[in-house]
């Protein structure tokens, strides 16, 4: 496949947004449009395709500046509602990670641990406008003599609170089964023995990176829907792997690309950024992300025309293989099969269970579509593209 010449620029699309003439569709609608009209016609008619995903994304957290007290403190250890934040930064800056559990949580000592409260829940409480308790301890310095600060704060009281997630929106993910003899509790949910269920975790045809498999339209500076507000892609996420094996349609067959994203917590909504408790595994943060994909050429129309049956993933055993660090494929399955609720595995019907909310993913794609149509959201041109491979 040769790269098609650009025939629509982002500036032109933004001009259409300003004029109220932009044509936006959601990624599921685009699949039908491309099927009916072909990619060339679709590229002429459609300007932007909106995507969405909502699922627990563990590599998430927030940089928080909690402001100076009188006398000031150079915080050594900081807890927010009892959840420790990393304080090895400037005096009143911390990073609160989504998976940090509240102190005194029994973790997996009472197995499977419930992980009822952690960093993700603190972020959720802040976004919901709740008061939280901040405690900071210090050794005291000549300029920052205070050794203890304890106060109740809301998000509005914090001088700055920036969500900065090192790895979100995985492009494709494993389908997990358990071939062991007892129930296991994983980040892919509860897996019953003898392949009692098969869990999967992407929004398929709505998923941002599955609609732009070679990352041709996104990179540092791409404006996105993040947690109900406008945020940005700031680079490839950790473990971003464009070199993953791909099918003929260019889509990766295993987990591949990822995004690092950033956005101001103060504009976010609790419906789209929520604490999660993964039984027997840990705390997390469910993040809502929607990426607008500009249809700059026929190539992008073809890519965004992807539908669930085109997207294939691998079935991996989390009972024996995965805990040994092996990810041997036990078979392939596509997202149309997964979403049907039952897959055939080793000659038997196995219930397929989503960990990712398709309902919320679709809502995100629709909200983003609405923002663009109303002129509340303009596309940005990425300044540095994500690492990719030739196609």
């Amino acid at each position: 496949m040769a790269q098609k010449k650009t025939f629509k620029t982002i500036q032109e699309i933004n001009q259409k947004i300003r004029q109220g003439k932009v044509v936006v569709v959601t990624a599921d609608e685009m699949a039908d449009i491309v099927r009916k009209k072909g990619p060339e016609k679709a590229a002429r008619e459609i300007d932007v395709v909106t995507t969405g995903t909502f699922a627990p994304m563990c590599s998430s957290g927030a940089f928080i500046n909690f402001g100076h007290s009188k006398p000031p403190i150079k915080a050594l250890r900081v807890w927010l509602n009892g959840v420790q934040a990393y304080a090895g930064l400037a005096a009143v800056d911390v990073y609160l990670g989504a998976t940090e559990a509240v102190k005194d949580d029994p973790l997996n000592k009472i197995y499977p641990g419930q992980f009822k409260y952690g960093g993700g829940h603190v972020i959720h409480d802040l976004v919901a406008g709740k008061k939280i308790t901040l405690k900071a301890t210090a050794y005291g310095t000549d300029c920052y003599p205070n050794q203890l600060v304890e106060k109740r704060v809301t998000l509005a009281d914090l001088p700055s609170a920036m969500l900065l997630n090192p790895r979100n929106a995985y492009q494709n993910y494993n389908c997990a089964v358990n071939l062991g003899k007892k129930t296991i509790y994983t980040y892919m949910g509860v897996l019953k023995p003898n392949a009692g269920n098969a869990n999967y975790a992407t929004s398929g045809q709505l998923s941002p990176l599955l609609n732009d498999p070679f990352y041709l339209t996104m990179g540092l500076g791409t404006r996105i829907f993040l947690g109900g507000a406008q945020g940005y892609i700031i680079g490839p996420g950790t473990q971003h792997n464009p070199k993953a094996k791909r099918g003929k349609n260019g889509l990766p067959l295993t987990p591949a690309g990822t995004l690092m994203v950033m956005g101001d917590l103060k504009g976010m909504k609790p419906e789209w950024i929520a604490g999660a408790s993964l039984l027997g595994y840990g705390c997390s943060l469910a993040v809502g992300i929607g990426v607008p994909i500009p249809i700059i050429n026929e190539q992008m129309a073809r890519f965004t025309g992807v539908s669930d049956e085109d997207i294939v993933t691998q079935i991996i055993d989390y009972g024996n293989d995965y805990p040994r660090g092996e990810t041997k494929s036990l078979g392939q399955v596509n997202y149309a099969e997964l979403k049907s609720g039952t897959i055939r595995f080793r000659g038997e019907d196995v219930p397929a269970v989503p960990m990712s909310s398709y309902v919320k993913a679709l809502k995100i794609a629709r909200i983003l579509k609405g923002w663009i149509e109303k002129g509340d959201f303009f596309l940005t041109e990425p300044q540095v593209m994500l690492p990719t491979v030739p196609f």
């Binding site: 909502f54 627990p56 929520a274 469910a286 269970v353 989503p354 309902v359």
Partner: protein
């Protein structure tokens, strides 16, 4: 035909009464035992689906209450907080009766209280912690 899932709690003194047999023999009811346990403090707990004529059902329940059995309707005890629910569907992996199920192709996650047997597996499996049991859980531990 009337059918309801009931949670029955028995005090220690009547834990050995043949109550299910009496429900069948004296009230012409049929039953399906979904859960039955005797706890360390010797109280019994049983989740029972009871079916039959509505008037017979009511008489049967009256018989249980007169015996000293605490009778609760299960469907009212497990709740879903729809605002908290992520609509992901992870709960459907553990729900044994299909009370929690996915409507396709919309992928909406629905909770049908009538099919719920209050096994509580969803309560901890729900990552959003949207499912809750409202009766006294200390009785179950």
């Amino acid at each position: 035909m009337y059918s309801k899932i009931l949670a029955l709690r028995f005090p220690e003194e009547i834990v050995d009464e043949p109550i299910t047999v009496n429900l069948v023999r004296n009230f012409d009811l049929s039953f399906s035992i979904l859960k039955a346990t005797i706890y360390p403090r010797k109280e019994g707990f049983m989740v029972l689906e009871l079916s039959g004529e509505k008037s017979a059902f009511q008489k049967g329940v009256r018989y249980l209450k007169d015996l000293g059995v605490k009778v609760e309707s299960i469907g009212q005890d497990i709740r879903r907080d729809d605002e908290k629910c992520f609509q992901c569907g992870a709960c459907t992996a553990v729900c044994p009766t299909g009370a929690l199920h996915i409507k396709r192709p919309e992928m909406e996650v629905l909770f049908d209280k009538d099919r719920c047997v209050a096994c509580e597996l969803c309560v901890s499996a729900c990552m959003a912690r949207a499912m809750s049991v409202t009766f006294d859980k200390t009785l179950l531990s």
